[in-house]
Structure formats: structure tokens, C-alpha cells
């Protein structure tokens, strides 16, 4: 009997050798965070149904880093400590927000705990470039890199939208608004730099703080009266970045409204409240509909998660991140003669991943932890979609305005020389 069981185990299924845990740290109180967690759950369920990883069952636990309704770095750190205290955890997917990653990497790196983020786009986490307030090697405190991400960085997102607005939307003068956060200032800065390089004019660059501003009409009027033909916003929906979109209507101004992945969200459509169309957003990754073979995975996902907001802008990225992590765990088990590997072994195997075949493309990771996939997608909100179109949209839709969804427009590939 035992001999038979071992034979089966070698084939990838059969004997259950135990449980390996993976966690995620996401702001699941938000629709963006929850739809991302869904992608991980889907990947793990699929893997377990197919026999697990080298005979081990994967147990997935979602940790929430929300405090008071928004992501919180302290909460994230507490979650990672909880995972580190349980030796069965061999890695995690997350975090969702770059500011949380900055706080978590220093405690995870000394333990060789693999972190794979589906959505962090701040370049400073991996790249030692000018304008960062810290160095990536300092975050890791001399330990080998433990952090990877499947999306590209803001230094591509801003320029992609600058190029799109200048060349495709024919906007030569723009008003820029940022929300005074690290993310918002960074992405707005990279947009401004590229827009000026292309020959465009910045009418004004204004900023606000969430706790101090609820009326943007004077700022918007200032843009308009200085000749702006469009608005670019650097910020996230939890900082109310899309309420100005609604107020553009209140001052009788019809013009395109562009931003980064922080506005490709359900809450952004909600905030635009009646002025949803012509919101343009970048996403730091390829749209799943543009990758051959991805449709089958998305259809299978939708069969399991049928809610309108279950699928989000980072669901498939999270699916890939979870699968990359499980691939590394699988390779580490093999390298450890089929036994439960250590965290260091998983880390070493993750660093060796080459040509990973994911839903969002086939890619490598460089030694900093960045993906070779440097694709930025552009989405625009289309209103009045049919229920079927809305359901099948790869971009997110509104909650109240359920027939207003982000629709894929085009993509920029920064890996290819242009």
C-alpha cells in the first residue's frame, strides 16, 4: 500500500504530505482589496483541486490591513508578524499599497519571507533612483531580496498617460492635481515631466489634502481659465480623488480626466457621480483580454465569483502572484527531496523563476524584484453599457452606476524600444 501511495505522490497527486500556508495582506475592506483577495483564493482553490503542490495542500488565509476604512502600514506589519510567527507560512501575496510594503519589507526580509505584490507600483521599493526618500537595499537591511511584484512601476504609468493625453486626446495644456500622498505626488510628478518633454504646457499643478478639502471648484476653475484642456490627477479614490471629476460638471467644464491605477476603481466611478464618461486611467499591467489564453481563466473565475465587484483591476495580477509563489514553493519542495522546505529555500527558488507563464503574460523577474513585463494599459469609462457588457468588462464598474465601467483602450509596452 505504502509503495503504491508513494508512486502516486511522485506523479503530483495522491498522498497528502501536509499543509503549507500562504497568506495575503490586503485592504479587504475596500472593493479593490477584496477583488484582489478573490484572485488569490481562486488560484489556491484551483491548485488544490488539481492535487495541491507536490503533494502538499495549500491553505490560504487573507489578512486585512484596513484601519478606519483605509490601508494602514501598522496593521500590515502586525499581519506579517502573525504570519512570521507560524512556521507553516512560507510566503505571502501582497501588500496592495506601496506605503505598506515599505513598512513590511524590513521585517520580512531578515526571515527570508517571500512577498509577492500584485499591485505595488512605487518605483522606490525596488529601484535606487533619484527622488526616493530611501534606498531599496536599506529596506532589506543587507538580506537577500525577498520582495517581487508582477506589475510595473509608476515611472511608466505617468508617462504612459502623458503620451496618451498629448498624442491621442490631443491635449496640449493640462491642469494637474495631486492628493499630497507619496503615491499621488510621485505619479503626478512623472506625468508632468513627460508631458512637458512632449511639448505640452502645465496650466497649474495644485494639491490638496483629504482632511482639508471637499470643494475643488476654485482649483478646477483656475485650470480652466489658464487654458487647460484636460485634468490629470495623481492620487487614490480613498483620498476622494474622483470627487473633482463630479465638480467639473458643476462648473460647466467638459474635458477629459486622466489618472493612475488609483482611479481605476469602483469608488472612483461612484465619486464621479453623474460625470463618469471620459475618465481615463492607467493600470500597471496588461489587460487580461489582450493575453491569449487568459479568457478561459477569467471565465472560470467569474463562474466561481459572480458578484459585480468580485473582479477588479488587480484580480488577475493577484492570481499570477499566487501562482508564482506556489511555483517557487513547488520547486523548493522538489529541491528538498519532497519535504517541507524552509522559507530560505522558497526565497531562493523564487529568485530563480524565469519565463513564468501567467494570465497577464509570460515574464521574468529581475534581481531587484521587478517584472520584465513593462506594459501599462489605458482604460476609459464608458457609460450606458448593457448588463452583459458590464458583467464581462475586464475593467471595474460602478456600484450605483452599474452600467458605467472602465473599458480597455490601448496599451504601452515600455520593454520594447519605441
Amino acid at each position: 500500500m505504502v509503495a503504491f501511495a508513494c508512486g502516486g505522490g511522485g506523479g503530483g497527486g495522491g498522498a497528502n504530505k501536509g499543509t503549507i500556508k500562504i497568506g495575503s495582506d490586503l485592504p479587504v475592506c475596500t472593493t479593490g482589496g477584496q477583488s484582489t483577495a478573490n484572485g488569490i483564493k481562486f488560484a489556491v482553490d484551483q491548485k488544490n483541486k488539481a492535487g495541491g503542490v507536490e503533494g502538499f495542500t495549500i491553505a490560504y488565509q487573507s489578512f486585512d490591513d484596513c484601519r478606519q476604512g483605509a490601508y494602514n502600514a501598522d496593521a500590515g506589519v502586525a499581519n506579517v508578524r502573525q504570519m512570521l510567527d507560524d512556521s507553516k507560512y512560507l510566503g505571502m501575496v501582497g501588500p496592495y499599497n506601496s506605503a505598506v510594503a515599505k513598512a513590511e519589507i524590513p521585517i520580512a526580509a531578515p526571515k527570508n519571507f517571500v512577498m509577492v505584490s500584485p499591485s505595488n507600483t512605487n518605483p522606490c521599493l525596488t529601484k535606487d533612483i533619484a527622488g526616493c526618500s530611501y534606498h531599496p537595499q536599506d529596506l532589506r537591511a543587507g538580506n537577500p531580496n525577498n520582495y517581487w511584484r508582477v506589475v510595473t512601476t509608476d515611472d511608466y504609468q505617468g508617462p504612459a498617460m502623458a503620451d496618451y493625453m498629448y498624442k491621442q486626446l490631443n491635449i496640449k495644456t493640462v491642469g494637474i492635481l495631486d492628493d499630497s500622498t507619496v503615491f499621488g505626488v510621485g505619479i503626478a510628478g512623472s506625468f508632468e515631466q513627460e508631458f512637458k518633454k512632449l511639448g505640452g504646457t502645465v496650466a497649474a499643478h495644485s494639491e490638496y489634502k483629504k482632511e482639508q478639502t471637499s470643494d475643488w471648484k476654485s482649483i478646477l476653475l483656475n485650470f480652466k481659465s489658464k487654458g487647460a484642456q484636460g485634468v490629470y490627477v495623481g492620487g487614490t479614490d480613498d483620498q476622494n480623488i474622483c470627487i473633482p471629476r463630479k465638480q467639473m460638471k458643476d462648473i460647466g467644464w467638459t474635458a477629459p480626466f486622466g489618472g493612475g491605477d488609483g482611479i481605476e476603481t469602483t469608488d472612483c466611478i461612484e465619486q464621479a457621480s453623474g460625470n463618469e464618461s471620459e475618465i481615463y486611467a492607467t493600470s500597471a499591467g496588461a489587460d487580461a483580454t489582450q493575453v491569449s489564453g487568459a479568457k478561459a481563466t477569467i471565465d472560470a473565475f467569474r463562474a466561481q465569483f459572480s458578484g459585480a465587484n468580485d473582479f477588479g483591476g488587480y484580480t488577475m495580477q493577484a492570481y499570477d502572484a499566487a501562482n508564482a509563489l506556489m511555483t517557487a514553493i513547488g520547486n523548493a519542495i522538489k529541491a528538498n527531496n519532497g519535504n517541507m522546505p524552509t522559507r530560505l529555500q522558497v526565497r531562493d527558488q523564487f529568485a530563480k523563476i524565469q519565463g513564468f507563464k501567467g494570465v497577464i503574460g509570460t515574464y521574468d523577474f529581475d534581481q531587484n524584484g521587478d517584472t520584465s513585463l513593462k506594459i501599462v494599459s489605458i482604460y476609459v469609462v464608458k457609460t450606458g453599457l448593457s448588463a452583459d457588457d458590464a458583467k464581462n468588462s475586464t475593467g471595474v464598474c460602478g456600484k450605483k452606476a452599474a452600467n458605467a465601467c472602465f473599458v480597455w483602450k490601448t496599451q504601452f509596452d515600455f520593454a520594447k524600444p519605441s
Binding site: 475596500t30 479614490d237 480613498d238
Partner: protein, 328 residues
Amino acid sequence: MSLPDYGFYILCGTAVILLAAQAVTHPTQFFQVFIFGLTQGAIYALVALGYTMVYGIIELINFAHGDVFTLGAYIGTTLLGFFAITEGTFTAINLIALIIVFPVVMLIMGGINITIERVAYRPLRNAPRLAPLITAIGMSFFLEGVMFLWRGPATVHFPDILPTQSWYVAGVFFGVRDIFVVVVGAVLVSLLAVFINQTKLGKAMRATAQDRDAAQLMGIDINRTIAATFFIGALLAGAGGIIWGLYYNTIYYQLGFRSGLIAFTAAVFGGIGNIPGAAIGGLVIGLTAAFSDSYIGSKWTQVVIFGILIGVLVFRPTGLLGMRVPEK
């Protein structure tokens, strides 16, 4: 006239001259920004009145007042959900819904505020001044927590049911919603002024504010009068919440913290305890914010608002129209 008075007039005069220069050189932008400021200011004024009335009568900074305002907006959006309203246009049902929801929300908020006073402030009326201040902060967090648990952390949509007509008059753009905010605000403030000055209960409030013990000796029911003050303050905050929702169409649970702080500033600016002062303070702060956003830059707006507040308090410590607080 004393030296500080001169400083105060120089400060005001400079601001007026600078703005007048803008009005002459760029009239369209000036009057457009003026409308933005007026609408913002009208809402701040409604909230500021609640702060100033409560402070005037029991010398308590009711930190929960901003959250009562937000809760009014939350209850308003929920109640409007029960009507077959049409968004983005104006129908008879929208009008009926507004006519019903306005007083209902105002009364609910009045009831809630009386309860808050009964539970969190009255038992501490003779305690050291800090104790009710702390319960007020606690009440503020409690109300925010209730809204958080009820509708979650994200922004909540408030139905867009006002008429959408808008006009360009000499290049200045404004809509029915702008007129609505200013008119409703003005009507409510006027009603309050009439109530305070003309009715028996209003007189009792003024008497209690002036000298609580003497008022009691004259046979005024202090508890009832203070409860009435909280009730009326909350009526205005509830109305302010709905107006905010109708005007901005987006609310969130922490809205009251910021609006409350600005409104409280407006109350101090106008002279705390002074009802016309709070209304004027609200308008001045709304206009200041709008002009600063437009002419100086948004990052300076808070600096400008609080700079003006410091200036006013240095030159005129009792606020614009003078304090009206209990005599010692």
C-alpha cells in the same frame, strides 16, 4: 479706537482692496469664485450656528456637532432611497421626497442631539470643564464609528435630485443648486434669528446664556432650555447635512471632522456665542477658502484661513462681532 482696532481695520482693508483689484481686472473669474465661496460658506454657516449656540449657553465645544451634521446626510440619503426619485433631473416625486425628508431628518437629528446631551453632557454639567470636552470628543468618535459600521469606509453616494438647470450670466456659470444652497441657508438662519429674538423660548435661551443661575431664579427650566438649544442646533446641522449631500452628492463618514473644525473656526471668527457672528464667520471662511484656492494656491488655503483667524483673534480677541457667553 484702540491700536488693535486699527490693526484689524488695516487687515480687512488690505484684503478688500486686493480682492477689489481682482474684481476689476478679472471680473468673470472673481464673480465665479465668489459664487463658489458663497455656497461653501452658507453650509459652514449652518454648522457653525450649532457650535456657537451650544458654546453660548453652556461653554462647551461640542465636538460631536460636525458628526451630527454628517449623520444627517447619511440618514437623508437612506430616507431618499425609499422614494422613487429620478437622479439627474427634477420630478414631482423628487420635490415631494425633499419636502418630506428635510423636516424628518431635521427632527431625527434634533432627537439624537437631545439624547447626546442627556447622556454625555448633562450628567457632567457641574464637573470640571475638561470632562464634558472629553465626552464630546468621545461622542464624535462614537458617531463616526456608527456611520463607519453602517455604510462602510468608502464614499457614499447622495442622490442628485435637484433641478439641473444652469446659466451663464456675463460669463459666470451657476446653477439652480447654487441658488438652492444659498437661499435655504439664508432662510434657516433668518428663522433662527426670529426664533431667538421673538419667542419666549428664545428669550429663555438668551437669559440662560447670560446668567444661568439668575435665569433659574426667574423660573426658567434650565434643563429644558439647554435641551432646546441642542435640538435647534441639530435641526440646522441636519438640514446642513442634506444640503451638503444635495450639493456635492458624495459624503463619507469622516466628513464631520473637517467640516466641524472649519465651522468651529467660523464660530470663533464671528465671536463665539454670537449667532449673526457665526453666520458671517461661515460666509467669510467659505469665501476665503475659494479665493485662496484660486488666487494664492490650494496648498496655502489652510494657512490663509487660520492665519486670518489668528489675525482676527490678536487684533480683536472677541471675534468679529464680539463674544456672547455667560457672565462670570
